[in-house]
Amino acid sequence: MWMTVIDGITMAALLFIIAVGLNLSFALLRVANLAHGALYLFGAYVGYSVMSYTESWLLAIVVGGLATALLALLLEFFLLRKVRGDNLRETLVTLSVAIILADVMIVIWGGSPMSIPYPDLLQGPLIMGDVIVPKLSLFILGFAIVIGTLLWMLLNKTKIGMIIRAGVDDYEMVAALGTNIRLVFTSMFVLAGFLAGIVGVVGGSHLIVSPEEDWRILTYALLIIILGGMGSFGGSVVAALIMGMIYSFGSLYVPEFQLFLMFTPVALVLIFKPKGLFGRGLE
C-alpha cells in the first residue's frame, strides 16, 4: 500500500515536470504546442549524445535543455510569429514541426530504443523497512519540487511574473502599457522549451528514449493540462498527483483499464467543468 502511494507520488513528480512547461506556454501564447513531446525527445537525444561523449550527467541535462531552448527559439521566431493569432494555423504549425522533427531524429539517432546512463550515486533502491524506493525516483521527486518552487517564485514574486500574469489575463492591455509583450511571449516559449529539454534528459534516464515516445509524453502532458486547467500552475500539481495515483493504483489492481482510468477524470472534467479543475489563468 505505502509502496503504491510512493510510486504514485514519484510518477506524479515526473508527470508534473513534463506538463508544466507546456502549460506555461499554453497560458500565455494560447497555442496548444503539439511539438512539446518532440522537444522533450530532442532534449533526451541530445542529452544521450552528450552523456556518451563526456560521461557527465549534469552537463547532459544542461546541454539538453539549452539545445532544446534554442530549437524552441527558432520555432517561435521563424514559424509561430508568422501565424500569431490564428489558432488553427498555429496548432498545425506545431503539429507539422512535431512530425518532421520526429523523423529527423530517427535519421540522426536511429530507431533503436536507448536509455541514458545516470550516475552510480542514483542507482539502485533505497530500502527503508518494507518500503523500497529507487533512488532515481527520489531524485525526480526532489527535482520536481525544485523546478515547481522556482517557477512559482518566478510567476508570483518577480516583476516578470507580474507582467506574465497580466499578459495571461489581458495581453492587449499589457502591450498598450508599453511592455514588449512579444519579447515576453518568446522568452516564455523558450523557457518552456528549456524545461522540456532538461525533463527529456531526466525522463530519458528514468524511462527510455525511443521514437514514438514524443507522442506518449505529449498525451500525458495534455491529459494533465486539460484536467488541471489550461494555464493553471496549481492545477498542474493537483492533476499530476491525481494522474500519478490513478496510474499507480490502476496498474496494480486493474492493469487492463489503466489508460481508460486515466482518461475518465479528463472526460468528467470536460463534461462538468470544461475549463479544468482550476482553469482560469496563472495563479
Binding site: 503504491t4 530507431g111 533503436s112 536509455s115 523500497i132 521514437p211 496498474s251 489503466q258
Partner: protein
C-alpha cells in the same frame, strides 16, 4: 492510443493533406515508370515495411539485409538489372494494404519482400490470399497464422514464428535450469501471446508446473508497480521471463535495476527479441546471464556467418542481427529461384515451386528448408548473454535441430490448428488446466505418450 488525441482533432485537414500528397507521389512515380519502360533488361522487386516511425528499425534493417544480398550479385539476377521498389508501411496494417496495392498495380511488381511487424503480417496474409499472382516473403513478421491458419501458396517465410523459436526454450528452462514455476511479464498483444504459448507448451509438457502471466499494455509509462508485484510474489517463483522486445525491454531492465530485483530473482529469462544486439548495447552489465532462444545467434562461428557479419558491417556500418539476416536470406532465396527460372518474375507458380523445394545450406543461421505451409524449418539456438572482452554478447549453449513451426506436434498439424488462436488466457497458466486443454485437442493418447517418455523425446 498515443496518437489518438491529435488524430481526433486533426483528422479532417490531415486526410486532405495526405490525399494531395499521395496523389502527387503517384504522379511522380508514373512519370518514372514511363521513362524507364524502354529498358527491357530491368526487373522490379518490391520491398515493404516500416521505414519511418517507431518501428523503422524493423523495416530498415530488413532493407539493409536485402541490399547486401543484392550487392553480392552486383544487383543483377539472370542478366536483368534489379530495380528495388521500397514502400513505407509505417507499421500500420491499413497503410500496408495500400502499399501492397501500389507495388502490385502501380509498379507492376510480382515479388514482394515484407512486411516486418505482427499486425502488418496478418494483413499481408489476407492480401496474399486475394492476390495469388504475387509472391510475398515476409521481412520479419512472426505471426504464426501467416503460414498456418491463414496460409496461402504464394506466401513463403524464410523467417520465424513467435512460437517456433521458443517451444524448446520451455523444455530447456525446466530440464536444464531446473525451474518449475515461472513469473512471466509480457506485452498484451498477439506476438507475446504466441511466445507465451510456445514457452508454456515446452515447459508444461516436460514437467513445468506454473507460468504466472502478468500482461501489460505496450504503452505503459513505467514498471514500478510490476516490480512491486514481482517482489511480493518472489517466494513463489523461481525466475522471471520477460516476454517483450524493443523499448519495453530497456524500460523494464531500467526499473529492474532501480529496484534491485537481482536480489529477489537471480535468474532472468527472455523472449526471442529480448537479447537483441541493440538492446545489449543499452543495458547494464548485470544483464549477463540472461537466457533466451532464437533461430539465429551472432556468435555462430561457421564461415558463412562470419562472412555475413563482416560484409554487413562494412556496407552499413552497424552490427548485423536477426532482422538483417532475414532480409538477407529472403533476398538470396529469391535470387536463387529466379536464376533457375531464368529471371521471369511473372510466373509466380514456377517461383514458389522452386523455393518450396529449396534446401538452403549456406545461410548465416545454418541450414533451413520449407515445410508444406511455406514456413522455414530450422535449428533453434538457446543463447546465454555473456561478457566477452568487456562487451555483452550472446553465446549459443544448446541447439535443437530442425524445429518446424509446429514444434513437437509434427504429424498433428491439423489438431494444432483446430485449437483457438493463442491469447492472453490460452494456453492456461497452470499445468493442470493446460493438460485438460491438451486432452481436448490432442487426445489422451498424446498425453500418455508424454508421460511414457517423461516429456518430449
Amino acid at each position: 492510443m498515443n496518437k489518438k488525441f491529435h488524430y481526433f482533432l486533426f483528422t479532417v485537414p490531415m486526410v486532405f493533406v495526405l490525399a494531395i500528397a499521395t496523389a502527387c507521389a503517384e504522379d511522380a512515380n508514373d512519370d518514372d515508370n514511363n521513362d524507364g519502360e524502354a529498358a527491357e533488361e530491368e526487373m522490379s522487386i518490391g520491398l515493404v515495411g516500416p521505414m519511418t516511425g517507431g518501428f523503422a528499425d524493423y523495416g530498415e534493417k530488413a532493407h539493409r539485409g536485402v541490399e547486401l544480398a543484392l550487392d553480392e550479385v552486383d544487383n543483377t539476377i539472370a542478366g536483368y538489372e534489379v530495380n528495388l521498389v521500397v514502400e513505407d508501411s509505417q507499421a500500420d496494417a491499413e497503410q500496408l494494404t495500400t502499399s501492397l496495392d501500389s507495388l502490385h498495380q502501380r509498379d507492376e511488381v510480382d515479388v514482394i519482400i515484407g512486411p516486418s511487424t505482427g499486425d502488418e503480417g496478418e494483413a499481408a496474409a489476407s492480401w496474399a490470399q486475394d492476390h495469388e499472382d504475387v509472391l510475398i516473403m515476409p521481412g520479419y513478421s512472426a505471426a504464426e497464422d501467416m503460414t498456418m491458419r491463414a496460409a496461402s501458396d504464394n506466401l513463403i517465410r524464410a523467417g520465424w514464428t513467435g512460437t517456433q523459436t521458443i517451444y524448446h526454450f520451455g523444455k530447456f528452462v525446466h530440464d536444464e535450469l531446473g525451474h518449475d514455476r515461472i513469473a512471466m511479464v509480457g506485452q498484451n498483444y498477439a506476438y507475446p501471446w504466441d511466445q507465451a504459448a510456445g514457452f508454456k507448451r515446452g515447459f508444461y509438457e516436460n514437467g513445468g508446473e506454473e507460468v504466472h502471466t502478468i500482461w501489460h499494455e505496450t504503452d505503459i509509462l513505467d514498471f514500478s508497480s510490476i516490480m512491486n508485484e514481482l517482489q511480493s510474489i518472489s517466494d513463489d517463483y523461481d525466475a522471471v521471463l520477460l516476454n517483450s522486445g524493443g523499448a519495453d525491454t530497456i524500460a523494464f531492465w531500467g526499473a529492474w535495476e532501480q529496484y534491485g530485483m537481482g536480489e529477489y530473482y537471480p535468474q532472468l529469462l527472455g523472449g526471442t527479441n529480448v537479447a537483441d544486439i541493440p538492446i545489449l548495447e543499452e543495458v547494464t552489465d548485470n544483464f549477463e546471464g540472461v537466457y533466451s532462444s532464437m533461430h539465429y545467434s551472432e556468435d555462430l562461428d561457421h564461415e558463412e556467418n562470419m562472412q555475413f557479419r563482416e560484409n554487413y558491417a562494412d556496407m552499413h556500418d552497424e552490427e548485423a542481427d536477426g532482422i538483417a539476416l532475414q532480409g538477407y536470406d529472403t533476398m538470396r532465396v529469391i535470387i536463387d529461384a529466379l536464376e533457375t527460372t531464368g529471371g521471369d518474375t511473372s510466373d509466380v507458380n514456377a517461383l514458389t515451386d522452386e523455393i518450396m523445394a529449396m534446401e538452403v545450406d549456406d545461410s548465416p543461421r545454418g541450414s533451413f528448408y520449407f515445410d508444406e505451409y511455406g514456413q522455414a524449418v530450422q535449428d533453434i539456438y538457446i543463447k546465454e548473454v555473456q561478457m566477452v572482452d568487456g562487451e555483452l554478447e550472446n553465446q549459443v549453449i544448446d541447439t535443437y535441430e530442425e524445429v518446424s513451426q509446429f514444434g513437437p506436434y509434427e504429424g498433428l498439424e491439423e489438431e494444432y490448428m483446430e485449437q483457438p488462436n493463442n491469447s492472453a488466457d490460452f494456453p492456461a497458466d497452470t499445468a493442470e488446466e493446460y493438460f485438460e486443454e491438451l486432452e481436448e485437442y490432442f487426445g489422451q493418447e498424446y498425453i500418455d505418450e508424454l508421460e511414457e517418455n517423461d516429456g518430449w523425446e
